[in-house]
């Protein structure tokens, strides 16, 4: 094979190589997003005669956006998400970092077993995990409430007004710690051993090494996991939906995605649901960009 022939081929090759990605992106991301935006300016309005008439799809402009943005339940959903995220995100990341550092510590024993044990919950599907925890929360099936009842302390209101946020966050933390731990742990393993050795020769304790050497160096991994956790929080749907039949605390519009589901399928208003989806997606994008910008300096600083 001669060089010029290779160069000629090279001119077409890049397009061929990106083609599958572009095709998949257009077919499964760009087109659906475009369709959602199109649907969001449509509406089902009554036309025709008869006692019922028939609803037809017509253009309604920004009506659906106005209804979404003025719906107090939509914003209340974000409020509940914020409270939920305040509990679940720091705890998930904090525990993941702690476990990763412990696994990375040379003196730890049973590392392989611990790593698998902590990672295992991530392999349990979210709905299964929610049901599993749901049974452990309900007063008459909960082993925890059984213990407290036997001790004369009464039942723990896991699914009551005060307990619902920690209870839901617990499901997410239990499932999410392992995944985040693996990312941070992988990043920790990438740190050259000389750095820790040098600090140790200087007389630094393991705590100081972790705090001043390891954590700054895994900052990019922390930013990445933080971003995933934030986006994951905005997309919370499965856990509250699964626990909803078990408690009156969770309404059908508890989080924004549940409101979108209700509008689309229970109220049969797909256009309104599309508008709310577009708002949610745009908001998620904006928050992600802002977070990345804010943390970029810190993340890169760690690599310097």
């Amino acid at each position: 094979m001669t060089a010029p022939a290779g160069a000629r081929r090279g001119s077409r090759a890049p397009y061929l190589f990106v083609a599958p990605a572009v095709v998949l992106f257009v077919a499964f991301l760009a087109v659906p997003i475009g369709y959602a935006v199109y649907l969001s300016v449509r509406g089902l309005r009554l036309t025709g005669t008869g006692i019922f008439g028939t609803r037809q799809e017509v253009f309604v402009g920004l009506d659906n956006y106005a209804r979404t943005l003025t719906d107090p339940e939509f914003w209340a959903g974000f409020g509940r998400l914020a409270l939920y995220g305040l509990i679940s995100v720091p705890l998930t990341l904090g525990l993941a970092l702690l476990f990763a550092l412990l696994l990375d510590y040379a003196g730890s024993r049973g590392r392989r077993f611990s790593r698998t044990a902590i990672f295992l919950p991530y392999a349990i599907p979210g709905v299964t995990a929610s049901l599993l925890w749901g049974f452990m929360y309900l007063p008459s099936t909960s082993p925890f409430s059984f213990l407290t009842r036997e001790l004369g302390l009464g039942e723990i209101p896991f699914l009551g007004a005060g307990g619902i946020y920690p209870s839901l966050a617990n499901v997410a933390i239990w499932g999410g710690v392992g995944f985040n731990m693996i990312i941070i742990y992988t990043s920790l393993r990438g740190i050259p051993a000389e750095l820790s050795d040098a600090a140790r020769i200087d007389g630094a304790s393991e705590w100081r090494i972790a705090w001043h050497v390891k954590i700054p160096l895994v900052a990019p991994a922390l930013v990445l996991t933080g971003l995933f956790a934030l986006i994951g929080t905005l997309q919370v749907y499965g856990e509250p939906t699964t626990l909803k039949p078990m408690t009156t605390e969770i309404s059908q519009t508890w989080v924004p995605l549940m409101l979108i589901y209700r509008n689309a399928f229970l109220r049969d208003d797909l256009p309104l649901a599309s508008a709310a989806s577009v708002v949610l997606a745009a908001g998620t994008l904006a928050v992600s960009v802002v977070l990345l910008k804010l943390t970029q300096r810190r993340a890169l600083g760690g690599m310097r």
């Binding site: 089902l44 309005r45 009554l46 036309t47 005669t49 008869g50 006692i51 019922f52 008439g53 028939t54 609803r55 749901g134 049974f135 309900l138 007063p139 008459s140 099936t141 007004a161 039949p245 078990m246 408690t247 009156t248 605390e249 309404s251 059908q252 519009t253 209700r262 399928f265 229970l266 109220r267 049969d268 797909l270």
Partner: protein
């Protein structure tokens, strides 16, 4: 070479997929083109329905009809089926026939999802009482064949009633007294549950008291979800909840099932399909339960509403409306179908099916009750005729569930929750373009 070979085969795969897509598209076009003509050869119908007896009924139909073959899929209960049918209908890949609860029919008609089968139902109309027939016919069009009925009855754990030496309540006042007795005799037990998600149950109780949630005159609707009788019924349950005489909690959760199995929930004022549901979660209590007429507001009355019950409808995107209508008719008028339905614990909508119950065994949960079908028949004969459901029952149901759950949680009046539901329903109807009276 290996790489080029691989990409070549990927390209070939892509071509194959494209070809497959093209040919299936052409196939769809062909069958659409032949629709108006007489159908030749066996027709295959897709059919969605929940319920334990459906599989056997469909198998019996297929055996009796070599030219129409039906494929049955259980896509979930009444609410799920309705939601999925709307979505699939819009996408053009809905089934040919589906079961629908009576209350969701108007919403389906407004969405343009159902076919008018009045041209095919002439011969079977007389197999149903006129009151039952009006459940599926609107303005001369017929949107389904009635399948089963859910007249409301009082379903109770007779064994526990006997143990605690309490009487079956005849009026709602008795019901409140019995609820208090239960709390006194067994502090862990409750007579019944008030479940915030049970929209259809509350609608039935309100209708029994004289409420009329939707009415239409000409093209003008009126909504009465917060009318005087409804508020009165809400006040009654409010009193029971406030005094902790009944348990306000969701139904059919692991928690509730556990309490039921322990004999701590003594009754479920619901409908004739309830023994089948309860048997599924409390098999060990087979024979312990019984049904009685639902309590009344005035002693001596016998009127009750329907809760649930379903019809078999044909969808508008079916390419075989006639075959589907034949199927719908057979499933609900043929003797074999009725017998299978009764065996599954359903109360048939057809007159012949109802007569056949007199010689049938009661469902297993109430196996010890000799007069089960007589009590059932009496309830069915005293149902309130022509209940009118509105075009946005789904919206009403979801608004009701949220408002009532919030009221139970925050200990705010149930009456306010009904008013809030009413507001949501009226606003939704106006936004869609309906004329609503009094606004």
């Amino acid at each position: 070479m290996r790489i080029r070979g691989a990409s070549g085969s990927i390209a070939a795969l892509g071509m194959a997929a494209l070809l497959a897509a093209c040919s299936s598209g052409a196939g769809g076009g062909d069958s659409a083109a032949t629709t108006p003509a007489a159908e030749s050869g066996p027709v295959t119908l897709q059919f969605w329905c929940w319920g334990s007896g459906q599989k056997d009924k469909v198998a019996a139909f297929n055996k009796a009809h070599p030219d129409i073959q039906v494929q049955h899929t259980d896509v979930g209960g009444g609410t799920d089926t309705a939601a999925k049918l709307l979505t699939a209908g819009r996408a053009g890949n809905g089934p040919d026939a589906a079961c629908l609860e009576y209350e969701s029919l108007p919403a389906m008609i407004v969405a343009g999802a159902l076919a008018d089968i009045s041209a095919h139902t002439g011969p079977i109309k007389d197999a149903f009482s006129p009151d039952v027939w009006t459940l599926t016919s609107f303005d001369g069009a017929v949107y389904g064949v009635p399948q089963d009925l859910g007249p409301m009855v009082f379903v109770y754990n007779r064994k526990r009633f006997d143990e605690l030496k309490i009487e079956v309540p005849v009026t709602w006042q008795d019901f409140a007294d019995v609820a208090a007795q239960v709390r006194k005799k067994d502090p862990e037990a409750y007579l019944a549950t008030f479940a915030p998600a049970e929209f259809g149950n509350f609608a039935g109780l309100a209708q029994q008291a004289g409420a009329s949630w939707w009415k239409v005159q000409g093209t003008t609707w009126s909504v009465g979800i917060a009318d005087a009788p409804s508020l009165e019924v809400a006040g009654f349950w409010q009193g029971l909840i406030d005094k902790d005489l009944i348990k306000a909690q969701p139904l059919l959760t692991p928690e509730w099932n556990n309490q039921l199995n322990k004999g701590k929930i003594l009754s479920w004022p619901s409908a004739l399909w309830a023994p089948g549901v309860l048997y599924g979660i409390a098999e060990k209590q087979a024979g312990d339960w019984a049904i009685a007429p639902l309590p009344q507001w005035t002693a001596g009355d016998a009127r009750v509403a329907f809760q649930g019950g379903s019809a078999l409808a044909v969808t508008k995107n079916s390419k075989h409306v006639q075959a589907a209508a034949t199927f719908a008719a057979w499933m609900n008028t043929d003797k074999t179908a009725n017998d299978l339905q009764i065996a599954a614990g359903e109360y048939p909508a057809s007159l012949a099916g109802q007569r056949a119950t007199s010689t049938s065994e009661p469902p297993k949960l109430v196996g010890g009750q000799k007069d089960y079908w007589q009590v059932a028949a009496k309830a069915a004969q005293n149902t309130i005729p022509h209940i009118s459901w509105g075009p946005n029952v789904g919206t009403a149901s979801s608004a009701y569930q949220d408002a009532v759950a919030a009221a139970v949680r925050d200990k705010t009046p149930l009456a306010d929750a009904l008013k809030k539901t009413q507001q949501v329903v009226v606003d939704d109807m106006k936004a869609t373009g309906f004329q609503v009276a009094g606004s």
